[in-house]
């Protein structure tokens, strides 16, 4: 059957073109184009199925193909339309494209009507014309296909335009205008029709593959641009962070220089006062008010030194630049040292409960002394005058921490709460006169050392500062 062999060869060419382009399209697959390629491949598979079905069944009866073949091809055409319309999680809505698509969809049931079986070629070709037009408008209006390199899109549009005209011509040469009732057959028109389908399929596959490649290249270029922008932005941010760090470091150095230059002479003055105090102890005929004046001067200097120490430590800790090395610190000794920082009158108010056991914690001795000094200072400041301040040390076995507990009887006028550990702007003056820096420093150092500080109402009428540090 020489005629059948010619048709067979045409079908094999058609299937070969489909297969080769399917591989090329799969090689371009990536998450962003998987819907386009997926729909297109299924469409190609359906078209191939339709034609392959013809190849095997044609010899038995062309009638069988007249329904299944066109239906498979038309479904493939719809999927191609969706592939062209798809645009990032949705389908682009072009009125013309949709009008063509719905018209072709409305015509499909007529293919299955037995009474209209002689007109199947006319109906099928009309549907093909409308679907080709729908695809044409889908490409034309979908922004995803618009690019500077317009050759692939132009090729697609030309191919679809020719397909559209070819289907219209086939419809115009179908029954009742001629004797042809099926698309595939032995007449010259049917052979030319199948040849043009194979030819158009080749061009459409080529154009679609080129469009996918083009979109992919555009995505790559966009990714490269974004990557370059990110790199440039990161560079700018790093530069800005570096500048900020430099400014912060310079400020920190200045603060430390200033505080050291002030603190050093004050500590020298304190040492001198201590020496004078020692001398006065053994001197005769001392003026009555000399001791009092000396004590006042020492107390004022103690206050200034504590504030300066807080500023130095706060600036160091907030900068996160310079780390303190930890050492084994005798917790009882640290508490005793902090109590000894106060004058005798205040020391007499502090009631300590020491057992003779030793507790060592991994800490920084001067920071621990400073925070305990601050806590005791605040406990004295906000307690009832002349009331006792309890200071003791305990081990919290549940939390595996050593707890410094400083209890006091709060003065009625200034009830304290957890907010006292917050740092307020220097312009924000509290009616109670609380300067938050000392307790802010306490909280920051406690965190730095891996612990925490809390203010608790453990016993009615009393409050306790609890500093818990890991050991």
């Amino acid at each position: 059957m020489p005629q059948s062999t010619y048709l067979d060869n045409l079908v094999y060419v058609y299937l070969g073109v489909m297969g080769a382009f399917a591989v090329a399209q799969l090689l371009q697959l990536r998450p962003t184009n998987r819907v386009h390629i997926g729909l297109w491949l299924i469409a190609s598979l359906l078209s191939a199925f339709g034609v392959f079905f013809f190849l095997n069944v044609a010899r038995i009866s062309f009638e069988n193909f007249t329904i299944f073949g066109p239906l498979a091809s038309i479904t493939g055409g719809f999927l191609r339309f969706f592939a062209f319309s798809y645009r990032r999680h949705t389908f682009h809505k072009s009125r013309l494209a949709r009008a063509c698509m719905w018209s072709s969809l409305a015509a499909i049931p007529f293919i299955a009507v037995p009474a209209l079986s002689p007109y199947r070629l006319l109906i099928g070709s009309s549907i093909g014309t409308l679907l080709a037009a729908a695809c044409f408008f889908a490409i034309l209006h979908n922004p995803i296909w618009k690019s500077r390199a317009s050759a692939p899109v132009a090729a697609s549009l030309i191919a679809l335009g020719i397909t559209c005209v070819a289907f219209a011509a086939r419809a115009a040469t179908a029954y009742p205008f001629t004797a042809d009732q099926t698309f595939i057959g032995q007449s010259e028109l049917q052979k030319r029709g199948l040849e043009s389908v194979v030819l158009m399929t080749f061009f459409m596959q080529l154009a679609f593959t080129a469009m996918i490649v083009d979109v992919r290249a555009r995505e790559d270029a966009r990714s490269d641009r974004i990557a370059i922008r990110i790199v440039q932005r990161n560079k700018r941010l790093r530069k800005r962070a570096q500048e900020t760090a430099n400014v912060a470091r310079a400020r920190l150095d200045l603060v430390q220089l200033l505080t050291h230059e002030v603190r050093q002479p004050i500590t020298n003055a304190q040492a001198s006062l201590q020496s004078i105090s020692q001398k006065l102890r053994y001197a005769k005929n001392t003026p009555n008010n000399a001791s009092f004046a000396l004590k006042s001067a020492q107390s004022s200097l103690d206050h200034i030194t504590l504030s300066l120490s807080n500023i130095i430590v706060a600036s160091t800790i907030l900068s996160h630049e310079r780390k303190w090395v930890t050492d084994e610190v005798d917790a009882y000794a640290a508490l005793k040292m902090s109590i000894l920082d106060f004058d005798q009158e205040k020391q007499d108010r502090i009631k300590t409960t020491f057992n003779e056991n030793t507790i060592y914690i991994e800490s920084v001795s001067i920071l621990l002394r400073l925070i305990l000094q601050n806590i005791i200072e605040f406990a004295i400041k906000f307690s009832e005058p002349n009331s006792d301040i309890d200071a003791y040390l305990k081990i919290d076995f549940d939390r595996e921490m050593v707890v410094f507990d400083i209890g006091f009887l709060p003065a009625d006028t200034h009830p304290l709460n957890q907010d006292i550990f917050e740092r307020r702007p220097s312009s924000d003056t509290e009616p109670s006169g609380i300067s938050s820096l000392g307790l802010f420093v306490v909280r920051q150092i406690a965190r730095e050392l891996g612990g925490e500080v809390r203010l608790l109402d453990t016993v009615p009428g009393r409050q306790n500062f609890q500093l818990a540090l890991p050991c």
Binding site: Q256, T259, H260, R263, Q264, I266, T267, N268, Q270, A271, S272, Q274, S275, Q278, L301, D302, T305, S309, I312, V313, T316, R322, K323, W324, V325, D327, E328, D330, A333, K336, M337, L340, D341, E356, N357, T358, I359, Y360, E362, V364, S365, I366, R369, I395, F397, E400, C471
Partner: protein, 232 residues
């Protein structure tokens, strides 16, 4: 009068009044004190070995306090207390890494100095008793401190210490310790950490000195003092 196991204290500070009055105070507390204004004066004039304890300032004319600590530490095991007006981490860290035992900030009261000396002496007890090791007496389930104080151990504590003492140069991981002590770990090392925490507190309570165990963050635990295992 004195509560510390030392008798000769050396004070190096360029503030002569401070040196004089601190010396007087320490003598009242039963300690003999000698004062020097500079590091050079100390190094030239005397036999360093006669001092049990050094009190140093960091801001000295000539040889700096940190350098002096390094020089002293190379020659003596005596306690070194730094009293300085410098308050940043740089001064603190460099003094401790040079070998100082304690760092306290000025202003300082003399009672605080004495308290600091006593604290350092307690920590130095190992050196004072002649560098004796910690001994784990397996048969009696006891840990013997360098000064002879004993700590009785539970079977789990004995296993933990035995595993740690086996190879003191190595950090023992939490998993290895849990396996050795038969501690069940259910996803975290909480049980082991609690056991170590209680063991440390027990050692400090019964031996009155820091435990020889050190936490190596992120890795496990290690013994960092001289140790010995006695099986008989």
């Amino acid at each position: 009068m004195t509560e510390t196991p030392i008798s000769q204290v050396c004070i190096v500070d360029d503030d002569s009044d401070f040196v004089e009055f601190l010396g007087q105070y320490l003598e009242v507390r039963g300690l003999a004190a000698s004062g020097f204004a500079t590091a050079e004066a100390l190094l030239k004039s005397s036999d360093l070995a006669k001092f049990d304890f050094f009190i140093l300032d960091l801001g000295l004319p000539g040889i700096d306090g940190v350098d002096l600590i390094t020089l002293l530490r190379a020659r003596t095991n005596a306690g070194i207390l730094v009293i300085s007006g410098r308050m940043g981490p740089d001064a603190f860290n460099s003094a401790l890494s040079a070998g100082a035992d304690m760092f306290i900030n000025k202003p300082i009261r003399f009672d605080q100095v004495y308290n600091a000396i006593a604290s350092v002496c307690r920590r130095m007890s190992l050196r004072i008793v002649g560098n004796s090791p910690w001994r784990l007496v397996v048969k009696r389930s006891e840990l013997v401190a360098p000064d002879g104080g004993t700590v009785s151990l539970t079977p789990v504590e004995l296993k933990i210490l035995h595993r740690l003492f086996d190879d003191p140069s190595q950090v023992v991981t939490r998993q290895q310790l849990s396996d050795a002590a038969g501690i069940i770990t259910s996803g975290d090392d909480r049980n082991l950490d609690s056991a170590i925490f209680r063991l440390r507190r027990k050692i400090e309570k019964e031996a009155s000195q820091p435990s020889p165990l050190k936490t190596v963050h992120g890795l496990g635990y290690q013994v960092f003092k001289a140790i010995e295992i006695i099986h008989s």
